[in-house]
Structures are given as structure tokens and as C-alpha cells.
Symmetry: C2
Subunit: 263 residues, 2 copies
């Protein structure tokens, strides 16, 4: 049995390309940055890139694959985004259509691929600083919520910020602000600490995506902008075609977490 955790990003992608891995990439290639994927036709690309530029906490762009290429040159120079993710989702006119393991046959000449930072990247530094990451402890998906905080709109794209939540003590939250500030390319510092109703979350025990985790006495919920935001926003504007990664089935890059740190 191979140890997927200690492999490189390239080794994991090679297994994925041969469909030896077709599920979640969580815990694989430890230390290598993983990314969300959004593929749109060129006609939507300027609006989407502008949306990302205006909403860097929700939508931190790690790389963009231009029309005519399939390779994210900055973060994985030998990868192919048509084959190197375990599972993709196809959306037609904003509606979920199907899941597939390879999109080579669907990829058109005028498509643009956006690779977007994933908060998975800063969880290792949090754990190393002694800060609990409850959804890892409890082996669940991170809880995510729609908020009442509007994104900055761009062209056809607008909608609310979606956040992920990690519970911790107030002291740990201060340290978590310091640590995640160093990683603006994977959502950066939290956008809210404490009372969920202040950002429009009525019931913390009913996440809109993912699963609820235990919130202990003396813990506060800490909220980070989440990479689900751009997918939710794009879906609402119903583009003719959108392809994304399936939840948890991320793109594994060649870039170490440390390379994304600004301090």
C-alpha cells in the first residue's frame, strides 16, 4: 500500500490521471497546496477574473489556464486540468448535470480554467501552532454558511460571501488571525469572529454546506471566506457551461504551502 500522504503533488496527479484515485484528495501530498477549479467559456472570463480580483478573500486566484492550454504553468507546469482532478461536476445553464472523471471530451477551445486557493492549505500551520481544527478531529467536512455580506459584484456576477467555520477559544482565534494573515492566497485572515447572527447566520448548527462540528464551552466560531463562494455566485448567473471540481476532489499542485506565505 502506497502512502498517499508523503507523495508529491506530481505523484498524486499521476495516480489520478490513471484513475487510480477517483475520490477526495484530503490528506494527500501533505504540504502541497490544493486548489478549487472553475472552468468557464471565454465570454465569462473577464467578468469572473474581475470578480476574483475584487473579492480576493473569497476567490484568491492561484493560476489561470488560458484558452489553448490545459496547464496551470505557475503552480504545476506538467499538469493537465482536463485529467488531473479525481472528479468533476458539469453545470449547464446553472443546473448540475453530471459527475465525470475526465473532461477531455468536453473541453472547448475557448475555455478558461481558474485555480482558486483552498483553506486546506492553512490548516496544517494552524495544527502545528496547537490550534484545533475540529472537522479534522471529528473526520467531517468543514461546516459552511451563506452570509448576508455581499461580494463586490463584477459584470454578471454577484451574490453573498460563503464562509467556513472553525470553533476555538478566543486566545486561539487571535493566534489564528496572525497565522492565516500570512496566507492571503488561500483566503487569508478570518472575516468574522463570534456572534453568527451579525453576518446573517441564524442557526450555527445548520450549515448550508458541509457538516456541523462540536462547538465546546468557551469556544467562539471563527469564520473564513470560503472557495464555495465563486461557485455559488457563478451558478446563480446561469452560464451556458461551467465545470468545477467535485467537493473534496481538488487539484493538487507542485507548490508548497510555505511558498504562498507572505511573511
Amino acid at each position: 500500500m502506497q502512502n498517499l500522504a508523503t507523495m508529491t503533488g506530481a505523484e498524486i496527479r499521476s495516480l489520478i490521471r490513471r484513475q487510480k484515485i477517483t475520490g477526495s484528495t484530503a490528506g494527500m501530498a501533505e504540504g502541497y497546496t490544493q486548489a478549487n477549479l472553475v472552468i468557464l467559456k471565454k465570454e465569462y472570463a473577464f467578468d469572473f477574473l474581475l470578480f476574483a480580483q475584487r473579492n480576493p478573500k473569497s476567490c484568491p486566484i492561484l493560476d489561470v489556464v488560458e484558452p489553448g492550454s490545459y496547464t496551470p504553468k505557475l503552480i504545476a507546469r506538467h499538469a493537465d486540468i482536463r485529467t488531473d482532478l479525481p472528479k468533476y461536476r458539469i453545470y449547464i445553464n446553472g443546473s448540475f448535470e453530471s459527475e465525470v472523471n475526465d473532461i477531455t471530451h468536453l473541453y472547448e477551445d475557448d475555455m478558461v480554467g481558474f485555480l482558486i486557493g483552498c483553506s486546506f492549505t492553512f490548516e496544517t500551520p494552524l495544527l502545528r501552532a496547537g490550534i484545533p481544527v475540529r472537522h479534522i478531529e471529528e473526520k467531517r467536512n468543514v461546516p459552511m454558511y451563506r452570509t448576508n455580506i455581499p461580494c463586490q459584484s463584477a459584470g454578471i456576477f454577484q451574490g453573498p460571501v460563503v464562509v467556513s467555520m472553525r470553533p476555538m477559544t478566543s486566545e486561539q482565534a487571535i493566534r489564528a488571525v496572525q497565522i492565516t494573515t500570512k496566507f492571503p492566497n488561500v483566503h487569508g485572515a478570518p472575516i468574522h469572529i463570534g456572534d453568527p447572527t451579525e453576518i446573517g447566520i441564524q442557526d450555527i448548527y445548520s450549515p448550508d454546506y458541509g457538516e456541523i462540528v462540536t462547538i465546546k464551552d468557551h469556544e467562539v466560531p471563527v469564520f473564513w471566506a470560503c472557495g464555495v463562494t465563486p461557485q455559488a455566485v457563478v451558478m446563480e448567473s446561469q452560464p451556458s457551461l461551467m465545470i468545477t471540481h467535485a467537493p473534496g476532489c481538488m487539484f493538487v499542485s507542485d507548490v508548497y504551502e510555505e511558498a504562498l506565505s507572505i511573511l
Copy 2:
């Protein structure tokens, strides 16, 4: 005589709009962020925004004015980029055509305006930390150089990084790295310290733009990516129409420097 240094960004823009100010904005509205301007037709906008996204140190985007609008909503919600800069330059097919004080008659429906951070913004914090800014001391324009460092290309746009240079002691350079790291939206940390030939600058005393300043014994040159980079790169690809600010005649925003600090 009004004191232009203590006015707000909005007050300065009002004087500019009425053409009471038609020259350099250096030293005006102290504490308010000033920005470079590049206006292109929509057909070039995706490539340019992608170029900026891939080269954030040379081309940090502060705001983008979409077609049909003239207002940079994020940094000056009541401004008009057609009238609120003292002087503009018009380039046709990559060649300089003329300088004007108002571009209302030239602005077309499919134009996109990009406001790009200016290193002027971090010079006040440097001065407050006791670090000399020689070109201010000597009342000259900052010296700027083409390097042999290639920008990450995007679509039709490619070319070398242009840098600005400030001489200081090695100890001051370390402190300057710390201070400017806090301002990624106005070029951030330096990209080189020391030997100019390592980045392709053969004669430090012959800048490609701006003016040379005194480099004292025991000082090293410190180089920052410069907002001239995107203008130089765009000019080389000869778009049918480009409008920029004239050198030193910047857009004065409503945003304080401190609002752009990440720490």
C-alpha cells in the same frame, strides 16, 4: 493660498476637474493613496487583467472601472476618471499621440479603466521610520530601470519588469522590507537588494526613466517593481488605443494608505 498637502483626495479632485490643477500631484492630499491609470478597449481587458493578476508586484490593481461606468467605486465613489486626473497621455497603436487635460470626448462605451497602486503610497511610512527617500530629499523624479526579469506573460502582453530604486544602508533595507511587505497593493516588498547587474542593470547612473539620485558610501540600491511596467508592456503590444495618466499626474483616491496595509 490653499494648502494642497492637507486637503482630502476629493478636494484635490475637485480642483483638478475644474482644471485649477493641471500638473504633478506629488505631495498633495497627504496620506491618501494615489494611483496609476491605464485605459484600454474591452478586447484587451481580459489579457490585461490576467497580466496584472500574474504580476501583482509590478501591477497591483486597486480598482477597475467597467464599461458603462467612469467611477472607481472601491477607492473613490464620486470620482470620474475622464476628468479627475490633471493630465492624460493618448497612445495610438503603441505610439504617443498627445497630452490632454480631459478625455470625456475620447471615452468610448467599450473602455475599461485600471487603477494601479503607486509606490508613492509607501514612501510616507518609510520616512516616518527614519529611512531616507533620496529622490524626495533631492526633489527629483525616482530613478527607474528596465531589468532582465521577465514578467509572467498573459495573452498578448509580455515584457521585462521595470523597477524603481531607492538607495539606503543595509540595515535600513531590512527595515524597508518589513515596512513595504505590509503594502502589497502598492508594489509590496523589494524584488532585489544590491548588485544592479544581477537584474540586468548595467549602469545604475543611467536610469531608463526618471532621474538619478545620490548613492552615498555604505548605501546599497534597493529595487521595487514599478507601475511603469504595465504601461511599457502594453505599449509594446501596440493596442489600437491606450490612455494613461501623464507622469506624476496621478489619480488621487479617497483611501488612506493605512487602509491598504495588510498588517
